[in-house]
Amino acid sequence: MNGPPPDRPQDGAPEPGAPGPGAPGPGPSEEPTEPIALQPTEPVDIPPELVASGVVMPELVGLEAEFGHAAAPPGEAGPEEWPPTVPPGHPHRPRAPRTAVTGAVVTCLLVLAGAALYDAVAVATGHAARRWRADFTDELSTRHLDDPWVLGIAAGAVAVGLLLCWLALAPGLRRWLALRRPGAAIDRAGIAALLAARGQEIPGIERCTVRAGRHKAVATVTGSAEPALVDRELREELAKFPLAGPYRLDLRIQPLRPRPPEERRHGHRRLAQEPR
């Protein structure tokens, strides 16, 4: 059975004209704005969920927080709202430095240019060209353009060039997901670990494994717990992550199969203990 995959509650951007307290807050709990709406003048009564999800800054309390931020769509907090330890810019996935592949390319360039330089200096000072250079220019001047070698090398150069351009432009680091705070990212395996740890705590769950992809997490649950309860718990946990983009959660329930405990996992041990 698959759980319904609606977007996270944060992703529903509230309409600008909606009344502030009634707009869906981005916090993980269902009634994040209720305490503010009831007691707007109490200075210290901010639900921690609101503070944590970046909607209300700690210094903005009471009416200011309510009217200034309750209806603001999350993730579009202006740079002036972030503390000075947050880098400027918008949230994005970190970009890979591409050091290794650039090192390989630079090494190839060094070898080629060094050989060409050596030969050019040798010829310019009156020595004969190296053997490899003479062979190379011979090949260049005898092979025609429709030679299979020429065509093959040209196709290979285009393929390598496309690969290098893709490496230069693609951000890389696909294991990280951007968070709403600019400059922050979270490990996909970390999301899976935290979701699985939460799932294991639900009574009646025997096993909960989570695979976190780049756009959705798939939780596979074995046990006798109520699927709606599991779904709610996992969504509550997922809502704690202030992810920058939309993220889905798929829930797959596997029926509990009775099985003898020691036999399947430690078959070799059972064999070893059996009397001959």
């Binding site: 429709d146 020429v150 065509l151 990212a185 970390g190």
Partner: protein
């Protein structure tokens, strides 16, 4: 230009050169200009599949010029120098060696702290936060544009949003104010462990 931008520029330029040269050869080799009826401008190289890749005539045309030998030596020399400079830059340490700390009331006193001391101080404060299992802090950027990079491993049951908030409000803000900086941009990478702190060491694997 940051190191990543330099690397990506090198890759892009080399890639574009490879694509351009390869496409020229392929278009000439498959006689695409004639088949598609494209009129090429005068002097366009490699137009016919029957011509050699580099004919003797075109070689003689270039190498007979006055500027040929200076250029034939200078271009590979520039590439070699650039490659060696790139390799040399990889050996350099990332980030400043020392950081200047303002001394309140100290006239003419310059207190400088080693980079590793700053990293240790911030790490020690971050580890004290609830839900943080392990942290690594690196100081990067120039001496006048200091920035931090933190990798934080969280424990299960931690609220990641709250952890981010307390990081910004606590250790990073403290580091910023004690260094006397207007801003201290910090990159944060969150990770998580599945093991609880009280779970004890991993059971040894028995073969």
């Amino acid at each position: 230009m940051s190191r990543s931008a330099v690397n990506r520029t090198i890759l892009l330029v080399v890639g574009i050169v490879l694509i351009g040269g390869g496409l020229l050869l392929l278009a000439g080799g498959f006689d695409l200009y004639d088949r598609l009826g494209i009129a090429v401008p005068d002097g366009w190289p490699l137009t016919s599949p029957d011509q050699p890749v580099l004919s003797e005539a075109s070689r003689a045309r270039w190498s007979g010029q006055d500027w040929w030998w200076p250029v034939a030596i200078a271009v590979p020399a520039l590439v070699v120098i650039g490659g060696l400079a790139w390799l040399w830059a990889q050996l350099r340490r990332v980030g400043p060696g020392t950081v200047t700390v303002p001394v309140p009331g100290g006239d003419g006193v310059a207190l400088r702290m080693r980079n590793s001391a700053l990293q240790d101080a911030v790490e020690g404060e971050v580890v004290e936060l609830p839900g943080v299992d392990k942290v690594t802090v690196r100081a990067t950027g120039g001496p006048h544009r200091l920035s931090l990079r933190a990798v934080v491993r969280l424990l299960p049951g931690t609220h990641p949003g709250e952890a981010l908030q307390s990081l910004d409000a606590g250790p990073l803000e403290n580091a910023r104010t004690s260094l006397g900086l207007a801003e201290l941009p910090t990159e944060i990478r969150l990770r998580a462990t599945a093991r609880r702190p009280g779970a004890g060491p991993k059971p040894p694997r028995v073969v």
